[in-house]
Symmetry: C2
Subunit: 282 residues, 2 copies
C-alpha cells in the first residue's frame, strides 16, 4: 500500500536518526513506502532542509547506482556553547569536591540527556575522519564511549585495569600513572580490535594523561592507529602532561580543598573546533 508523504517523512526521519553514518539506498525507501523514486527524492530534500535548519545533522547524498543518503549527526555552535557552559556551571558545584581534590561526576555521566549531548559534541568533531572504533577505560569512560559510538555508529571497546576471565585472551601494556608515578597495567581483549583500525580515545577525566597514554600504547600493540583523544573534563596538572593533542569539553581550573571550593570553565573544544562548527552553521 502506498504511503502518504506525511507518514513517509515521519518514518524516514526515525529510520535515519537511528542509523547515523549509514548509507541508505533510495530504492530501500521507495520499496518500503511503495512510492516512486522521484517522490522519495523530494521527501529527502525536505528532511535535508529541516535537519539543516534545526542543526540536527547533515543529510549527505551519495550519487550513482550504489548511492543513497547518509545522515551525519551534528551539533550547532550555539547549542554546543550552551551545553558546555551548563556543564562548567554544574562542575563548579561545591558539593562535587571530594577528598584529594577529585570531582564527583557519576550523576552527570548517568543522565541520558547529558550523555546524548556529550556524544553529539564529540561525534561532530570527528565527522570527516575515518573512525572504526571508540576506546575507553573502565569504568567511568564507558558511558561516554557508548554515546559517541552511537552517534558515529561504530563499536566501542573497553580497556580494563583488572583481568577478567570473561574477556578471553588479552593484550596488556604497562603504563605510568602521571598523578601517582606508579606503574600500572591495562589490558584489552585480543579479539576486540582489528589491525589497521582508526581509534578514537575518550575518557571522563584527564589529569596527567597517564591512562590515555597507556591506551595509546595499546593501540600500537594492536597495529591500529590513533585518530584523536577527547575527554569530558580535564583537571589542572603540575608538571608535564603526557598527552598534548586532545580536546576537553570542560576544564576544572581551581580546586581549593581548604576553602572547599572548585571552579570549572569551558575546555578547549570550542576553540579547537571553531572552523568545523562555523562550517556547519549555514
Amino acid at each position: 500500500m502506498k504511503v502518504r508523504r506525511s507518514d513517509r517523512l515521519i518514518d524516514m526521519t526515525r529510520y535515519l536518526l537511528e542509523r547515523p553514518h549509514t548509507l541508505v539506498p533510495l530504492t530501500f525507501f521507495s520499496k518500503r513506502y511503495e512510492s516512486a523514486k522521484s517522490s522519495i527524492s523530494e521527501d529527502l530534500a525536505i528532511v535535508r532542509r529541516t535537519f539543516a535548519a534545526r542543526q540536527t545533522g547533515i543529510l549527505e547524498t551519495v550519487p550513482g547506482a550504489a548511492g543513497g543518503v547518509r545522515y551525519l549527526p551534528i551539533i550547532g555552535r550555539e547549542e554546543a556553547e550552551r551545553f558546555i557552559d551548563l556543564m562548567a556551571a554544574r562542575l563548579s558545584e561545591t558539593d562535587r569536591l571530594l577528598p584529594g581534590g577529585y570531582v564527583y561526576l557519576s550523576d552527570l555521566l548517568g543522565t541520558p540527556d547529558v550523555l546524548r549531548q556529550i556524544g553529539r559534541l564529540i561525534a561532530t568533531q570527528y565527522l570527516d575522519q575515518q573512525i572504526d572504533a571508540v576506546m575507553t577505560v573502565a569504568t567511568k569512560g564507558i558511558p561516554i564511549a557508548q554515546s559517541v559510538s552511537q552517534y558515529l555508529n561504530v563499536p566501542f571497546v573497553i580497556v580494563r585495569r583488572d583481568s577478567k576471565i570473561t574477556e578471553g585472551s588479552t593484550v596488556s601494556v604497562n603504563y605510568v600513572s602521571a598523578s601517582s608515578a606508579r606503574i600500572e597495567k591495562m589490558e584489552l581483549s585480543k579479539r576486540s580490535l582489528a589491525a589497521g583500525s582508526g581509534v578514537l580515545i575518550v575518557d571522563d577525566f584527564m589529569k596527567g594523561g597517564g591512562t590515555v597514554n597507556g591506551m595509546r600504547s595499546l593501540i600500537s600493540e594492536f597495529d591500529a592507529h590513533l585518530v584523536g583523544i577527547s575527554v569530558f573534563a580535564e583537571g589542572n596538572f603540575d608538571g608535564d602532561r603526557m598527552v598534548s593533542d586532545y580536546t576537553s569539553l570542560v576544564r576544572v581550573d581551581t580546586v581549593d580543598t581548604k576553602a572547599n571550593t572548585l571552579h570549572a570553565v569551558a575546555g578547549n573544544y570550542l576553540t579547537k573546533n571553531q572552523a568545523a562548527l562555523a562550517g556547519l552553521a549555514q
Copy 2:
C-alpha cells in the same frame, strides 16, 4: 516565521524521539513552529498513526491545561522475536566459548545496534511501571543500563566491586557469589540513589544470581524498592538460584567445554511479556 507541516512533522518526530517518557505541552510545539494549536494537534495525530503503524512507539495524549503528549518507545512482538532469535544464534557461535565455560559477549555489548534493541526490549517490558533509576554492576552491565536508561529516560547508577575515590562516600553490602560460594563486597555512591526510588536491575549475564541478589540488598540499604530484574543472558545453574523473578532475553542452555560447543535459545522474555507485547500489536 510559520513553519510548513512537512517541516514540523520531521522536527517534531526528532524532538519526541530524543525525549522518551517526557511530557511535551502542545503550546511548546505551537510556539516553536508559530502554528495554531489545532494544526499541532493534527500533526500529532499523524505522528501517532505512523508511530503505531511502524511499532516505533506510543504517542500518549495527556488532556487538560497541564497536558500535552508523551512518546513511549516500544518494540513490536515480531521485531522482538527476530532480535532474540538473532542473539540466540550469535551466542551459539563456537568461538565465544571461553575457558571455564564463560561466554564472550563484549563484541555484542559494544555494538550500538545491538544495544539499541536490548534497550528497547527491556524498556517495553516496564512501560507501565514507575522506574526512577536503572541499576547495574560494573563493568559489562553498564552498556545495557545506559541503553535502557535512555529509552526510559531515567538515570542509571553503577554499583562497583572495587572502591574508588571518585565516588565519594559509599554504602556497601556483602554478598555471596552463588557460583564460587565466596563472600564479596559491592558498593554504591551514597548520593547516587534517593530513598523511595523504584529501581530496575539489569545485567549482562546471570548464573547463580548472587550479584543480582547483592544489588537487591543495596536497594534496601538505600530505602529504595526493586521494580524488576532483567538480564541479557542467563546460563544454566546447578543448584538453587538466588533470584527467581527475572526476565532474560537469551538463555545459554548447553555448554560443552570438551567438545568446545555451546548452544543458546530464547530466554523467558517473550513468554513473560506475551500479554504486554500482544497489547501493543494493534
